[in-house]
Amino acid sequence: MNDSRHEGAGEVRPPTADFGGCADSSVVLEGVSISKGYGSRGSRRQVLSRVDIRAMRGRCLGLIGGSGSGKSTLMRIVLGLESPDGGVVRFRGEVLAGRSCDGARRRLRMQSGLVFQNPHGSLDPRWPVWRSVAEPLTVGAARGDRSRIVRRVEEALASVGLDPEEFMGRYPCELSGGQAQRVAIARATVNDPALLVADEPMSALDVVARERIMDTFASIRAHRPELAMILISHDLGIVRTIADDLLVLHHGEVQETGVAADVLDAPRSPYTRRLIEAASL
Protein backbone atom coordinates (compact mmCIF):
# COMPACT_ATOMS: atom_id res chain seq x y z
CA MET A 1 0.00 0.00 0.00
CA ASN A 2 1.61 3.34 -0.87
CA ASP A 3 2.11 4.87 2.49
CA SER A 4 3.62 7.92 0.87
CA ARG A 5 1.90 11.14 1.85
CA HIS A 6 -0.04 12.84 -0.90
CA GLU A 7 1.35 16.34 -1.07
CA GLY A 8 -1.49 18.81 -0.92
CA ALA A 9 -5.10 17.79 -1.59
CA GLY A 10 -5.87 14.28 -2.92
CA GLU A 11 -6.36 14.55 -6.68
CA VAL A 12 -9.91 15.90 -7.21
CA ARG A 13 -11.54 14.09 -10.15
CA PRO A 14 -13.01 16.02 -13.11
CA PRO A 15 -16.84 16.27 -12.90
CA THR A 16 -18.96 13.91 -15.05
CA ALA A 17 -20.88 15.38 -17.98
CA ASP A 18 -23.54 17.27 -16.01
CA PHE A 19 -24.27 16.88 -12.41
CA GLY A 20 -28.04 17.00 -12.83
CA GLY A 21 -27.91 14.24 -15.50
CA CYS A 22 -30.67 11.63 -15.90
CA ALA A 23 -30.55 8.34 -14.02
CA ASP A 24 -27.75 6.62 -15.87
CA SER A 25 -25.66 3.60 -14.81
CA SER A 26 -23.09 5.88 -13.23
CA VAL A 27 -25.57 6.66 -10.38
CA VAL A 28 -25.11 4.01 -7.66
CA LEU A 29 -27.48 5.39 -5.04
CA GLU A 30 -29.99 8.20 -5.32
CA GLY A 31 -32.40 9.89 -2.95
CA VAL A 32 -35.03 12.17 -4.50
CA SER A 33 -36.77 14.86 -2.31
CA ILE A 34 -36.33 12.89 0.92
CA SER A 35 -38.36 14.24 3.85
CA LYS A 36 -38.57 12.98 7.42
CA GLY A 37 -40.18 14.29 10.61
CA TYR A 38 -40.32 13.04 14.19
CA GLY A 39 -42.60 13.53 17.14
CA SER A 40 -46.35 13.42 17.65
CA ARG A 41 -48.85 15.88 16.28
CA GLY A 42 -48.08 18.61 18.81
CA SER A 43 -44.29 18.79 18.70
CA ARG A 44 -43.58 17.79 15.08
CA ARG A 45 -39.86 18.20 14.31
CA GLN A 46 -39.05 18.27 10.59
CA VAL A 47 -35.55 16.73 10.31
CA LEU A 48 -35.27 16.53 6.51
CA SER A 49 -37.27 18.44 3.89
CA ARG A 50 -37.05 17.55 0.18
CA VAL A 51 -33.35 16.61 0.12
CA ASP A 52 -31.86 15.29 -3.12
CA ILE A 53 -28.70 13.20 -2.82
CA ARG A 54 -26.78 11.20 -5.41
CA ALA A 55 -23.71 8.92 -5.10
CA MET A 56 -21.93 8.50 -8.42
CA ARG A 57 -19.76 5.55 -9.45
CA GLY A 58 -16.07 6.37 -8.87
CA ARG A 59 -16.85 9.69 -7.11
CA CYS A 60 -16.94 10.72 -3.45
CA LEU A 61 -19.76 12.90 -2.17
CA GLY A 62 -18.94 15.01 0.90
CA LEU A 63 -22.08 15.46 3.03
CA ILE A 64 -21.43 18.47 5.32
CA GLY A 65 -23.55 19.72 8.18
CA GLY A 66 -23.39 20.67 11.81
CA SER A 67 -24.93 18.62 14.62
CA GLY A 68 -28.69 18.54 14.20
CA SER A 69 -28.48 19.14 10.44
CA GLY A 70 -30.11 15.72 9.77
CA LYS A 71 -27.12 14.21 7.98
CA SER A 72 -27.13 10.99 10.02
CA THR A 73 -30.87 10.53 9.47
CA LEU A 74 -30.36 11.06 5.74
CA MET A 75 -27.69 8.33 5.76
CA ARG A 76 -29.96 5.88 7.62
CA ILE A 77 -32.78 6.52 5.11
CA VAL A 78 -30.55 6.24 2.05
CA LEU A 79 -29.16 2.92 3.36
CA GLY A 80 -32.68 1.55 3.91
CA LEU A 81 -32.19 1.35 7.69
CA GLU A 82 -35.08 3.81 8.12
CA SER A 83 -38.03 4.69 5.86
CA PRO A 84 -38.59 8.35 4.83
CA ASP A 85 -41.92 10.21 5.18
CA GLY A 86 -41.60 11.53 1.63
CA GLY A 87 -39.38 10.98 -1.38
CA VAL A 88 -37.88 7.87 -2.90
CA VAL A 89 -34.54 6.02 -2.66
CA ARG A 90 -33.16 4.17 -5.67
CA PHE A 91 -30.23 1.77 -5.57
CA ARG A 92 -28.89 1.19 -9.09
CA GLY A 93 -32.27 2.20 -10.49
CA GLU A 94 -34.30 -0.12 -8.21
CA VAL A 95 -36.73 1.76 -5.99
CA LEU A 96 -36.23 1.03 -2.32
CA ALA A 97 -39.39 2.50 -0.75
CA GLY A 98 -41.39 0.40 1.69
CA ARG A 99 -41.08 -3.21 2.85
CA SER A 100 -42.38 -4.68 -0.37
CA CYS A 101 -39.10 -4.63 -2.25
CA ASP A 102 -36.86 -6.40 0.28
CA GLY A 103 -34.89 -7.69 -2.66
CA ALA A 104 -33.52 -4.24 -3.56
CA ARG A 105 -32.88 -3.46 0.08
CA ARG A 106 -30.97 -6.72 0.54
CA ARG A 107 -28.93 -6.11 -2.62
CA LEU A 108 -28.12 -2.61 -1.37
CA ARG A 109 -27.04 -4.08 1.97
CA MET A 110 -24.86 -6.71 0.36
CA GLN A 111 -23.12 -4.17 -1.87
CA SER A 112 -22.56 -1.32 0.62
CA GLY A 113 -20.02 -0.87 3.40
CA LEU A 114 -20.45 1.24 6.56
CA VAL A 115 -17.86 3.08 8.69
CA PHE A 116 -18.91 4.78 11.94
CA GLN A 117 -17.65 7.63 14.08
CA ASN A 118 -16.44 5.81 17.18
CA PRO A 119 -13.78 3.27 16.05
CA HIS A 120 -13.93 1.10 19.19
CA GLY A 121 -17.72 1.30 19.26
CA SER A 122 -18.05 -0.24 15.81
CA LEU A 123 -15.95 -3.34 16.58
CA ASP A 124 -17.24 -6.15 18.84
CA PRO A 125 -14.78 -6.01 21.80
CA ARG A 126 -15.00 -9.80 22.20
CA TRP A 127 -14.08 -10.60 18.59
CA PRO A 128 -10.52 -10.77 17.22
CA VAL A 129 -9.85 -8.51 14.21
CA TRP A 130 -9.90 -11.30 11.60
CA ARG A 131 -13.42 -12.38 12.67
CA SER A 132 -14.83 -8.82 12.52
CA VAL A 133 -13.40 -8.20 9.07
CA ALA A 134 -14.61 -11.61 7.82
CA GLU A 135 -18.21 -11.09 8.99
CA PRO A 136 -19.59 -9.60 5.72
CA LEU A 137 -18.07 -12.55 3.80
CA THR A 138 -19.98 -15.12 5.82
CA VAL A 139 -23.36 -13.90 4.62
CA GLY A 140 -25.66 -15.34 1.99
CA ALA A 141 -24.54 -17.17 -1.16
CA ALA A 142 -21.05 -15.66 -1.10
CA ARG A 143 -20.26 -17.79 1.97
CA GLY A 144 -17.27 -19.46 0.28
CA ASP A 145 -14.75 -21.71 1.92
CA ARG A 146 -12.52 -20.97 4.88
CA SER A 147 -9.24 -20.37 3.00
CA ARG A 148 -10.87 -17.92 0.54
CA ILE A 149 -12.24 -15.91 3.48
CA VAL A 150 -8.86 -15.83 5.25
CA ARG A 151 -7.17 -14.69 2.02
CA ARG A 152 -9.77 -11.94 1.46
CA VAL A 153 -9.39 -10.77 5.08
CA GLU A 154 -5.62 -10.56 4.70
CA GLU A 155 -6.01 -8.56 1.48
CA ALA A 156 -8.47 -6.19 3.14
CA LEU A 157 -6.17 -5.57 6.14
CA ALA A 158 -3.22 -4.97 3.79
CA SER A 159 -5.32 -2.49 1.75
CA VAL A 160 -5.77 -0.33 4.88
CA GLY A 161 -2.08 -0.46 5.77
CA LEU A 162 -2.30 -3.02 8.60
CA ASP A 163 0.14 -5.96 8.47
CA PRO A 164 -2.16 -9.03 8.53
CA GLU A 165 0.38 -11.16 10.39
CA GLU A 166 0.52 -8.67 13.27
CA PHE A 167 -3.14 -7.55 13.41
CA MET A 168 -5.20 -10.68 12.47
CA GLY A 169 -5.24 -11.99 16.04
CA ARG A 170 -5.43 -8.68 17.87
CA TYR A 171 -8.52 -7.56 19.82
CA PRO A 172 -10.08 -4.06 19.59
CA CYS A 173 -8.87 -3.22 23.12
CA GLU A 174 -5.31 -3.81 21.86
CA LEU A 175 -5.71 -1.30 19.00
CA SER A 176 -5.26 2.50 18.89
CA GLY A 177 -8.16 4.64 17.63
CA GLY A 178 -6.60 4.95 14.18
CA GLN A 179 -5.89 1.22 13.89
CA ALA A 180 -9.44 0.30 15.00
CA GLN A 181 -10.94 2.66 12.43
CA ARG A 182 -8.78 1.12 9.70
CA VAL A 183 -10.04 -2.34 10.71
CA ALA A 184 -13.59 -0.97 10.35
CA ILE A 185 -12.70 0.32 6.88
CA ALA A 186 -11.24 -3.09 5.98
CA ARG A 187 -14.49 -4.70 7.09
CA ALA A 188 -16.57 -2.23 5.07
CA THR A 189 -14.55 -2.87 1.88
CA VAL A 190 -13.80 -6.62 2.20
CA ASN A 191 -16.86 -7.55 0.13
CA ASP A 192 -15.94 -5.23 -2.78
CA PRO A 193 -18.95 -2.98 -2.19
CA ALA A 194 -20.34 -0.65 -4.84
CA LEU A 195 -20.93 2.02 -2.18
CA LEU A 196 -18.89 2.99 0.91
CA VAL A 197 -20.59 5.26 3.46
CA ALA A 198 -18.48 6.82 6.26
CA ASP A 199 -20.33 8.72 9.02
CA GLU A 200 -17.88 11.15 10.70
CA PRO A 201 -15.05 8.60 10.47
CA MET A 202 -12.36 10.95 11.82
CA SER A 203 -13.93 13.25 14.40
CA ALA A 204 -13.18 10.86 17.30
CA LEU A 205 -9.48 10.63 16.34
CA ASP A 206 -6.50 12.90 16.92
CA VAL A 207 -4.86 14.83 14.09
CA VAL A 208 -2.15 12.27 13.30
CA ALA A 209 -4.66 9.40 13.15
CA ARG A 210 -7.02 11.51 11.02
CA GLU A 211 -4.26 12.07 8.48
CA ARG A 212 -3.60 8.30 8.40
CA ILE A 213 -7.32 7.57 7.83
CA MET A 214 -7.45 10.20 5.09
CA ASP A 215 -4.57 8.47 3.29
CA THR A 216 -6.32 5.12 3.79
CA PHE A 217 -9.49 6.40 2.10
CA ALA A 218 -7.40 7.87 -0.72
CA SER A 219 -5.60 4.55 -1.33
CA ILE A 220 -8.89 2.58 -1.09
CA ARG A 221 -10.37 4.80 -3.81
CA ALA A 222 -7.18 4.53 -5.87
CA HIS A 223 -7.47 0.71 -5.86
CA ARG A 224 -11.24 0.78 -6.55
CA PRO A 225 -11.92 3.33 -9.31
CA GLU A 226 -15.57 2.13 -9.53
CA LEU A 227 -16.33 2.68 -5.82
CA ALA A 228 -18.97 5.32 -4.98
CA MET A 229 -18.43 6.91 -1.58
CA ILE A 230 -20.36 9.19 0.79
CA LEU A 231 -18.22 10.90 3.45
CA ILE A 232 -20.25 12.57 6.19
CA SER A 233 -18.61 15.20 8.41
CA HIS A 234 -19.08 18.56 10.07
CA ASP A 235 -15.55 19.65 9.11
CA LEU A 236 -14.91 20.98 5.62
CA GLY A 237 -11.15 20.72 6.15
CA ILE A 238 -11.35 16.92 6.37
CA VAL A 239 -13.86 16.42 3.57
CA ARG A 240 -12.23 18.63 0.91
CA THR A 241 -9.15 16.34 0.75
CA ILE A 242 -11.22 13.36 -0.43
CA ALA A 243 -14.60 14.58 -1.74
CA ASP A 244 -15.19 15.26 -5.45
CA ASP A 245 -18.65 16.79 -4.88
CA LEU A 246 -20.18 18.54 -1.85
CA LEU A 247 -23.69 18.64 -0.38
CA VAL A 248 -24.15 21.21 2.41
CA LEU A 249 -27.05 20.46 4.80
CA HIS A 250 -28.38 22.76 7.51
CA HIS A 251 -31.56 22.12 9.58
CA GLY A 252 -32.61 19.43 7.10
CA GLU A 253 -32.45 21.65 4.00
CA VAL A 254 -29.88 21.57 1.21
CA GLN A 255 -27.96 24.85 1.40
CA GLU A 256 -25.69 24.18 -1.54
CA THR A 257 -24.48 21.36 -3.76
CA GLY A 258 -21.90 21.00 -6.54
CA VAL A 259 -18.35 20.08 -7.39
CA ALA A 260 -16.08 20.55 -4.35
CA ALA A 261 -13.69 23.04 -5.98
CA ASP A 262 -16.52 25.33 -7.18
CA VAL A 263 -18.30 25.30 -3.81
CA LEU A 264 -15.08 26.13 -1.93
CA ASP A 265 -14.04 28.90 -4.34
CA ALA A 266 -17.48 30.56 -4.69
CA PRO A 267 -19.73 29.55 -1.81
CA ARG A 268 -23.28 30.76 -2.53
CA SER A 269 -25.01 30.21 0.82
CA PRO A 270 -24.00 32.10 4.00
CA TYR A 271 -23.96 28.82 5.97
CA THR A 272 -21.34 27.40 3.60
CA ARG A 273 -19.24 30.50 4.12
CA ARG A 274 -19.43 30.01 7.90
CA LEU A 275 -18.34 26.38 7.41
CA ILE A 276 -15.39 27.47 5.28
CA GLU A 277 -14.37 30.12 7.78
CA ALA A 278 -14.66 27.61 10.66
CA ALA A 279 -12.44 25.14 8.79
CA SER A 280 -9.68 27.55 7.72
CA LEU A 281 -6.50 28.18 9.67
Binding site: L114, E135, R170
Partner: protein
Protein backbone atom coordinates in the same frame (compact mmCIF):
# COMPACT_ATOMS: atom_id res chain seq x y z
CA UNK B 1 -15.02 -24.26 23.83
CA UNK B 2 -13.49 -26.70 26.32
CA UNK B 3 -10.06 -25.02 26.23
CA UNK B 4 -11.89 -21.73 26.95
CA UNK B 5 -13.30 -23.27 30.15
CA UNK B 6 -9.87 -24.54 31.19
CA UNK B 7 -8.33 -21.09 30.68
CA UNK B 8 -11.06 -19.44 32.75
CA UNK B 9 -10.54 -21.94 35.59
CA UNK B 10 -6.76 -21.45 35.46
CA UNK B 11 -7.26 -17.67 35.61
CA UNK B 12 -9.52 -18.08 38.67
CA UNK B 13 -6.98 -20.45 40.26
CA UNK B 14 -4.25 -17.84 39.91
CA UNK B 15 -5.62 -15.74 42.76
CA UNK B 16 -5.85 -16.71 46.44
CA UNK B 17 -9.62 -16.26 46.67
CA UNK B 18 -9.95 -18.31 43.51
CA UNK B 19 -7.94 -21.16 45.03
CA UNK B 20 -10.13 -21.07 48.15
CA UNK B 21 -13.41 -21.18 46.20
CA UNK B 22 -12.28 -23.82 43.70
CA UNK B 23 -10.98 -26.08 46.49
CA UNK B 24 -14.23 -25.82 48.45
CA UNK B 25 -16.33 -26.46 45.35
CA UNK B 26 -14.25 -29.46 44.24
CA UNK B 27 -14.38 -30.85 47.80
CA UNK B 28 -18.14 -30.43 47.76
CA UNK B 29 -18.53 -32.32 44.46
CA UNK B 30 -16.13 -35.04 45.64
CA UNK B 31 -18.00 -35.53 48.92
CA UNK B 32 -21.31 -35.66 47.04
CA UNK B 33 -20.03 -38.42 44.75
CA UNK B 34 -18.48 -40.37 47.65
CA UNK B 35 -21.64 -40.07 49.72
CA UNK B 36 -23.52 -41.97 46.99
CA UNK B 37 -21.52 -45.08 47.87
CA UNK B 38 -20.19 -44.68 51.38
CA UNK B 39 -20.83 -42.61 54.48
CA UNK B 40 -19.12 -43.09 57.90
CA UNK B 41 -22.41 -44.41 59.31
CA UNK B 42 -25.37 -45.59 57.22
CA UNK B 43 -27.71 -42.59 57.55
CA UNK B 44 -30.67 -44.84 58.25
CA UNK B 45 -29.47 -46.29 61.56
CA UNK B 46 -30.21 -44.22 64.64
CA UNK B 47 -28.91 -44.83 68.12
CA UNK B 48 -31.43 -43.95 70.76
CA UNK B 49 -28.93 -44.02 73.59
CA UNK B 50 -26.46 -41.49 72.22
CA UNK B 51 -28.84 -38.66 71.32
CA UNK B 52 -27.20 -35.22 70.86
CA UNK B 53 -23.81 -36.75 71.72
CA UNK B 54 -20.87 -34.38 71.20
CA UNK B 55 -17.90 -35.37 69.01
CA UNK B 56 -16.45 -38.91 69.43
CA UNK B 57 -14.43 -41.28 67.33
CA UNK B 58 -17.51 -43.04 65.99
CA UNK B 59 -19.36 -39.76 65.47
CA UNK B 60 -16.71 -37.09 64.70
CA UNK B 61 -19.34 -34.35 64.60
CA UNK B 62 -21.62 -35.94 67.20
CA UNK B 63 -25.19 -37.16 66.74
CA UNK B 64 -28.51 -35.37 66.17
CA UNK B 65 -31.89 -35.60 67.86
CA UNK B 66 -32.51 -39.11 66.54
CA UNK B 67 -29.01 -40.35 67.38
CA UNK B 68 -27.99 -40.44 63.68
CA UNK B 69 -24.43 -39.46 62.77
CA UNK B 70 -24.29 -35.75 61.86
CA UNK B 71 -21.30 -36.16 59.55
CA UNK B 72 -23.00 -38.87 57.46
CA UNK B 73 -26.16 -36.82 57.14
CA UNK B 74 -24.15 -33.79 56.03
CA UNK B 75 -22.28 -35.86 53.46
CA UNK B 76 -25.51 -37.34 52.13
CA UNK B 77 -27.07 -33.88 52.18
CA UNK B 78 -24.28 -32.45 50.02
CA UNK B 79 -25.47 -34.60 47.09
CA UNK B 80 -29.04 -33.30 47.36
CA UNK B 81 -27.89 -29.70 47.58
CA UNK B 82 -25.57 -30.19 44.59
CA UNK B 83 -28.55 -31.55 42.66
CA UNK B 84 -30.67 -28.53 43.63
CA UNK B 85 -27.90 -26.07 42.70
CA UNK B 86 -27.16 -27.64 39.31
CA UNK B 87 -30.85 -27.87 38.42
CA UNK B 88 -31.58 -24.32 39.59
CA UNK B 89 -28.60 -22.87 37.70
CA UNK B 90 -29.53 -24.78 34.54
CA UNK B 91 -33.22 -23.82 34.55
CA UNK B 92 -32.65 -20.19 35.55
CA UNK B 93 -29.98 -19.87 32.83
CA UNK B 94 -32.41 -21.21 30.21
CA UNK B 95 -35.22 -18.96 31.46
CA UNK B 96 -32.90 -15.96 31.76
CA UNK B 97 -31.42 -16.30 28.27
CA UNK B 98 -34.86 -16.86 26.75
CA UNK B 99 -36.23 -13.73 28.43
CA UNK B 100 -33.21 -11.60 27.52
CA UNK B 101 -33.39 -12.76 23.89
CA UNK B 102 -37.08 -11.88 23.87
CA UNK B 103 -36.38 -8.48 25.39
CA UNK B 104 -33.91 -7.47 22.68
CA UNK B 105 -35.93 -9.06 19.88
CA UNK B 106 -36.74 -6.76 17.02
CA UNK B 107 -40.47 -7.46 17.19
CA UNK B 108 -41.83 -4.78 19.51
CA UNK B 109 -44.67 -7.04 20.65
CA UNK B 110 -42.33 -9.79 21.88
CA UNK B 111 -39.92 -7.42 23.58
CA UNK B 112 -42.57 -5.34 25.37
CA UNK B 113 -44.44 -8.47 26.56
CA UNK B 114 -41.25 -9.98 27.98
CA UNK B 115 -40.38 -6.73 29.73
CA UNK B 116 -43.89 -6.66 31.23
CA UNK B 117 -43.61 -10.25 32.45
CA UNK B 118 -40.25 -9.67 34.11
CA UNK B 119 -41.14 -6.35 35.72
CA UNK B 120 -44.42 -7.72 37.08
CA UNK B 121 -43.23 -11.05 38.47
CA UNK B 122 -39.78 -9.99 39.68
CA UNK B 123 -41.14 -8.57 42.92
CA UNK B 124 -42.71 -11.86 44.03
CA UNK B 125 -40.50 -13.48 46.69
CA UNK B 126 -39.16 -17.01 46.26
CA UNK B 127 -41.04 -18.29 49.29
CA UNK B 128 -44.40 -17.21 47.89
CA UNK B 129 -43.59 -19.01 44.63
CA UNK B 130 -42.58 -22.04 46.69
CA UNK B 131 -45.84 -21.91 48.62
CA UNK B 132 -47.89 -21.74 45.43
CA UNK B 133 -46.10 -24.89 44.25
CA UNK B 134 -45.85 -26.65 47.64
CA UNK B 135 -49.49 -26.34 48.70
CA UNK B 136 -50.84 -28.53 45.90
CA UNK B 137 -47.83 -30.80 45.40
CA UNK B 138 -46.55 -31.00 48.96
CA UNK B 139 -42.97 -30.42 50.13
CA UNK B 140 -40.35 -31.80 47.71
CA UNK B 141 -37.00 -30.98 46.14
CA UNK B 142 -38.90 -29.93 43.02
CA UNK B 143 -40.56 -27.11 44.99
CA UNK B 144 -37.17 -25.61 45.84
CA UNK B 145 -35.92 -26.02 42.29
CA UNK B 146 -39.01 -24.59 40.62
CA UNK B 147 -39.34 -21.63 42.98
CA UNK B 148 -35.62 -20.77 42.80
CA UNK B 149 -35.36 -21.26 39.03
CA UNK B 150 -38.27 -18.92 38.29
CA UNK B 151 -37.10 -16.31 40.78
CA UNK B 152 -33.44 -16.32 39.69
CA UNK B 153 -34.26 -16.68 35.98
CA UNK B 154 -36.29 -13.47 36.17
CA UNK B 155 -33.53 -11.82 38.16
CA UNK B 156 -30.91 -12.90 35.62
CA UNK B 157 -32.99 -11.40 32.83
CA UNK B 158 -33.43 -8.15 34.75
CA UNK B 159 -29.70 -7.82 35.53
CA UNK B 160 -28.43 -8.86 32.09
CA UNK B 161 -30.88 -6.67 30.19
CA UNK B 162 -28.82 -3.43 30.18
CA UNK B 163 -25.76 -5.20 28.69
CA UNK B 164 -27.95 -6.93 26.13
CA UNK B 165 -29.61 -3.67 25.08
CA UNK B 166 -26.23 -1.92 24.93
CA UNK B 167 -24.94 -4.65 22.58
CA UNK B 168 -28.16 -4.75 20.55
CA UNK B 169 -27.98 -0.99 19.90
CA UNK B 170 -24.22 -0.96 19.30
CA UNK B 171 -22.67 0.06 16.02
CA UNK B 172 -21.10 -3.37 15.43
CA UNK B 173 -24.60 -4.89 15.46
CA UNK B 174 -25.87 -2.18 13.07
CA UNK B 175 -22.91 -2.94 10.81
CA UNK B 176 -23.61 -6.70 10.98
CA UNK B 177 -27.31 -6.11 10.22
CA UNK B 178 -26.39 -3.67 7.44
CA UNK B 179 -24.17 -6.33 5.83
CA UNK B 180 -27.06 -8.79 5.87
CA UNK B 181 -26.38 -11.00 8.93
CA UNK B 182 -29.66 -12.52 10.18
CA UNK B 183 -31.16 -11.40 13.50
CA UNK B 184 -30.79 -14.85 15.05
CA UNK B 185 -27.10 -15.06 14.18
CA UNK B 186 -26.52 -11.54 15.57
CA UNK B 187 -28.16 -12.67 18.81
CA UNK B 188 -25.96 -15.77 19.04
CA UNK B 189 -22.65 -14.21 18.01
CA UNK B 190 -22.85 -10.62 19.31
CA UNK B 191 -25.55 -10.16 21.94
CA UNK B 192 -25.39 -13.36 24.04
CA UNK B 193 -21.55 -13.34 24.33
CA UNK B 194 -21.87 -9.76 25.60
CA UNK B 195 -23.97 -10.90 28.57
CA UNK B 196 -21.87 -14.00 29.38
CA UNK B 197 -19.82 -12.18 32.08
CA UNK B 198 -22.96 -10.87 33.79
CA UNK B 199 -24.62 -14.27 33.49
CA UNK B 200 -21.62 -16.08 34.98
CA UNK B 201 -21.70 -13.82 38.02
CA UNK B 202 -25.46 -13.96 38.47
CA UNK B 203 -25.61 -17.76 38.12
CA UNK B 204 -22.89 -18.26 40.74
CA UNK B 205 -24.73 -15.90 43.10
CA UNK B 206 -28.02 -17.72 42.36
CA UNK B 207 -26.34 -21.06 43.11
CA UNK B 208 -25.37 -19.75 46.54
CA UNK B 209 -28.78 -18.23 47.16
CA UNK B 210 -30.55 -21.44 46.18
CA UNK B 211 -28.69 -23.29 48.97
CA UNK B 212 -29.80 -20.63 51.45
CA UNK B 213 -33.35 -20.86 50.07
CA UNK B 214 -33.23 -24.66 50.43
CA UNK B 215 -32.33 -24.35 54.11
CA UNK B 216 -35.05 -21.74 54.65
CA UNK B 217 -37.81 -23.59 52.79
CA UNK B 218 -36.90 -26.90 54.42
CA UNK B 219 -37.10 -25.28 57.87
CA UNK B 220 -40.55 -23.91 56.91
CA UNK B 221 -41.54 -27.46 55.97
CA UNK B 222 -42.16 -26.83 52.30
CA UNK B 223 -38.68 -27.59 51.02
CA UNK B 224 -36.91 -30.93 51.16
CA UNK B 225 -39.21 -33.54 52.76
CA UNK B 226 -38.19 -34.89 56.19
CA UNK B 227 -36.87 -38.25 55.02
CA UNK B 228 -34.42 -36.80 52.50
CA UNK B 229 -31.00 -35.71 53.85
CA UNK B 230 -29.92 -32.14 53.03
CA UNK B 231 -27.92 -29.43 54.71
CA UNK B 232 -31.11 -27.46 55.30
CA UNK B 233 -32.64 -30.51 56.93
CA UNK B 234 -29.65 -31.03 59.24
CA UNK B 235 -29.73 -27.32 60.19
CA UNK B 236 -33.50 -27.33 60.78
CA UNK B 237 -33.56 -30.37 63.01
CA UNK B 238 -30.75 -29.02 65.21
CA UNK B 239 -32.29 -25.52 65.31
CA UNK B 240 -35.23 -26.47 67.49
CA UNK B 241 -32.93 -27.64 70.32
CA UNK B 242 -30.53 -24.72 70.16
CA UNK B 243 -31.09 -23.67 73.77
CA UNK B 244 -30.25 -27.14 75.02
CA UNK B 245 -27.58 -28.27 72.55
CA UNK B 246 -26.27 -25.09 70.87
CA UNK B 247 -23.26 -26.74 69.24
CA UNK B 248 -25.30 -29.28 67.28
CA UNK B 249 -26.42 -26.52 64.87
CA UNK B 250 -22.84 -25.29 64.45
CA UNK B 251 -21.70 -27.74 61.77
CA UNK B 252 -24.54 -27.64 59.23
CA UNK B 253 -24.62 -23.82 59.36
CA UNK B 254 -20.85 -23.64 58.97
CA UNK B 255 -20.87 -25.98 55.95
CA UNK B 256 -23.60 -23.97 54.23
CA UNK B 257 -21.89 -20.65 54.92
CA UNK B 258 -18.51 -21.84 53.65
CA UNK B 259 -19.96 -23.34 50.45
CA UNK B 260 -22.15 -20.32 49.71
CA UNK B 261 -19.20 -18.00 50.37
CA UNK B 262 -17.14 -20.07 47.97
CA UNK B 263 -19.87 -19.77 45.33
CA UNK B 264 -20.15 -15.99 45.82
CA UNK B 265 -16.36 -15.55 45.64
CA UNK B 266 -16.28 -17.76 42.54
CA UNK B 267 -18.96 -15.52 41.02
CA UNK B 268 -16.89 -12.41 41.74
CA UNK B 269 -13.80 -13.96 40.15
CA UNK B 270 -15.74 -15.15 37.08
CA UNK B 271 -16.75 -11.59 36.23
CA UNK B 272 -13.21 -10.84 35.00
CA UNK B 273 -12.02 -14.35 34.13
CA UNK B 274 -14.76 -14.95 31.56
CA UNK B 275 -14.52 -11.65 29.67
CA UNK B 276 -11.83 -11.67 26.91
CA UNK B 277 -11.68 -7.86 27.13
CA UNK B 278 -10.49 -8.13 30.74
CA UNK B 279 -8.70 -11.50 30.68
CA UNK B 280 -5.70 -11.36 28.29
CA UNK B 281 -5.17 -15.13 28.47
CA UNK B 282 -8.52 -15.67 26.76
CA UNK B 283 -7.40 -13.45 23.91
CA UNK B 284 -4.18 -15.35 23.32
CA UNK B 285 -6.12 -18.60 23.02
CA UNK B 286 -8.59 -17.22 20.45
CA UNK B 287 -5.79 -15.95 18.20
CA UNK B 288 -4.44 -19.47 17.85
CA UNK B 289 -7.98 -20.56 17.00
CA UNK B 290 -8.00 -17.74 14.44
CA UNK B 291 -4.89 -19.08 12.86
CA UNK B 292 -6.19 -22.67 12.81
CA UNK B 293 -9.70 -21.99 11.46
Amino acid sequence: MMDGVMIVLRSVWRRAEGRFSLTVLCLWVAVSVVSLFWTPQPITNTDGYHVWASGSLRHPLGTDGAGADVLSWLMAGSYVDLLIVVATVAFSAILGVALVSAMVARSVMLSSVSVVVVDALISIPTVVLALIVAVPLGASIAVVIVACSIGYGLNLARVARPQALLAARSEYVVSAAASGVTGLRILATHILPAIVPTMAVQLSLSAGTSILAESGLTYLGIGVPSGVPSWGHSLSTSASFVNVYPFAALWPGLVITVVVTALNVFGDMLRDAVDPVVNPRLRRDRTRAGRRS
